[in-house]
């Protein structure tokens, strides 16, 4: 019980004293994960929508793969991205290893299947309602995918939040490709892991409380924006 009270004190102290160091870690976490979700969404949303509306050979297999990859272990993704970005790897020349960009890339790979699978489900449900009408209007699969992505935008914003939640809360991938370098690639989760292994449990827990609070706050904000926008546009 002492640890918890001490943790709350530590969290409060962190927030009250709010040093630049802490802000650096928090803002890096946010930047890395936002970029990751953006990158993943650019690829995963169209993919999910096409899986829902287009008929092409291998569609079923691809759907099974995408669904299966939702549960990819973060450390495995980290390792794969690490190998790709390391000197000898195919993307080694970019020199991205141990940079925030590498961390975004790893998190993007991690959340892309989640975004694609959830998008496919949502778009497919809407397609069920729209299919006859869109076919009647002579809409191509590409146009149908774009139409449905736009029409399900409010549901898809929840999908993006789920992706963001998974990205900002994972530790394995960013630890491997980022290296947890203080001031450069240290994010909230890797800082928590480090403080825990150093034995500074209150500080680790304090950081954890801030992380959870941050995720909750973002979700509340997104929910508010969504219900406001949905009311005005249906």
């Amino acid at each position: 019980m002492d640890t918890f009270t001490a943790s709350l004190d530590a969290a409060l102290a962190l927030l009250l004293h709010a040093d630049a160091h802490l802000y650096g870690i928090v803002s890096l976490s946010l930047r890395v994960s936002c970029l990751a979700v953006l990158l993943a969404a650019l690829f995963a949303l169209p993919l999910g929508a096409l899986l829902a509306v287009a008929q092409f050979p291998g569609r079923r297999t691809l759907t099974v793969l995408v669904n299966g990859f939702m549960g990819l272990p973060a450390v495995v993704v980290g390792l794969i991205v690490y190998l790709s970005l390391s000197r000898a790897g195919p993307l080694g020349e970019l020199g991205l290893l141990f940079t925030p960009s590498a961390m975004s890339l790893a998190q993007a790979v991690l959340v892309a299947p989640l975004l694609a699978a959830l998008t496919r489900q949502i778009v497919e449900d809407a397609w069920f309602e729209y299919a006859d009408q869109l076919h009647s209007l002579g809409v191509s699969p590409r146009q149908a995918a774009l139409t449905l992505l736009w029409d399900t935008r409010w549901s898809l914003s929840t999908v993006l939040l789920a992706g963001f939640g998974r990205a900002i809360s994972e530790v394995g991938a960013v630890m491997i490709v980022g290296g947890n370098i203080d001031g450069v690639t240290r994010v909230m989760t890797t800082a928590i892991a480090l403080e825990t292994s150093k034995g500074d449990l209150p500080l680790a827990m304090g950081l954890g409380i801030i992380l959870v609070a941050l995720v909750l706050l973002l979700n509340a904000l997104a929910q508010a924006i969504r219900s406001w926008a949905a009311r005005s546009a249906q």
């Binding site: 309602e129 729209y130 006859d132 009408q133 076919h135 009647s136 209007l137 002579g138 809409v139 146009q143 139409t147 736009w150 029409d151 399900t152 546009a233 249906q234």
Partner: protein, 239 residues
């Protein structure tokens, strides 16, 4: 343009059969739809009316037989269909009507202008900026009719367009259909509403158990149907 005008008619169905996974829905359908006609397809539930219409419109591929549009090689684009439950996109009424025009590559200002004109023709221009999905069922069907009309189709298919509407809304849709027909658009409609069929139809196609039982001018059909099945159907129907 004149050459194009005649090219897509008549719509000719020959030897159409449809039997997905062994269940026969339609068999041996031969039917000709002439330009400017107004054909109503009648028949009991499960007769295959909607399936027949979907095959004509190109939403379903027939299991056997051919759908031929005049001398055209391909399904023409200048056709539209109204469904029993109107599908409203999650956007404004105006955007819903303009959507079909965008799809055909018409530039946005032109599409909006034509959409607004189509909305005016169904008397809903005052709702143009409202989200389409909050409208009543009757208003939604009028928006769907405007969306179809905005495409300036040569033929319009309607699958029980007033089945879930109250009498007032049904009348509004019916007069919209009559106006489109008067403007020269060929109409093919499925309905269960005999009064509506009497008012609108020039020709009746009576379908039962997946076969065309008769194809008669409407006036004759309601006075003296040629098939026993149709006579029974008319007797059972409430006035």
């Amino acid at each position: 343009m004149t050459a194009m005008k005649t090219a897509m008619f008549p719509l000719q169905l020959s030897g159409i059969g449809f039997a997905p996974s062994g269940t026969t829905i339609l068999q041996d359908i031969n039917l000709t739809i002439a330009e400017g006609s107004c054909t109503v397809i009648l028949g009991p539930n499960g007769a295959g009316k909607s399936v027949l219409m979907r095959i004509m419109h190109g939403l379903l591929a027939p299991g056997s037989g051919r759908v031929e549009w005049g001398s055209l090689e391909e399904r023409p684009l200048s056709q539209a269909m109204l469904f029993q439950r109107p599908v409203m996109l999650r956007r404004s009424v105006l955007s819903n009507v303009a959507y079909g025009l965008h799809v055909q590559g018409i530039p946005i200002p032109e599409a909006k202008r034509r959409a607004l004109a189509a909305l005016e023709s169904v008397g809903l221009q005052h709702l143009a900026d409202r989200p389409a999905r909050v409208l009543s069922g009757g208003e939604q069907q009028r928006v769907a009719l405007a969306r179809a009309a905005a495409l300036q189709p040569r033929i319009l298919f309607l699958d029980e367009p007033t089945a879930s509407l109250d009498p007032g809304a049904a009348r509004a849709i019916e007069s919209g259909i009559a106006a489109l027909h008067a403007a020269g658009i060929t109409i093919v409609m499925v309905t269960h509403h005999l009064g509506q069929a009497r008012r609108l139809a020039r020709d009746i196609v009576f379908l039962a158990a997946g076969r065309i039982q008769e194809c008669t001018p409407a006036h004759d059909f309601f006075r003296q149907p040629q098939s026993q099945a149709a006579a029974d159907f008319l007797k059972e129907e409430l006035p």
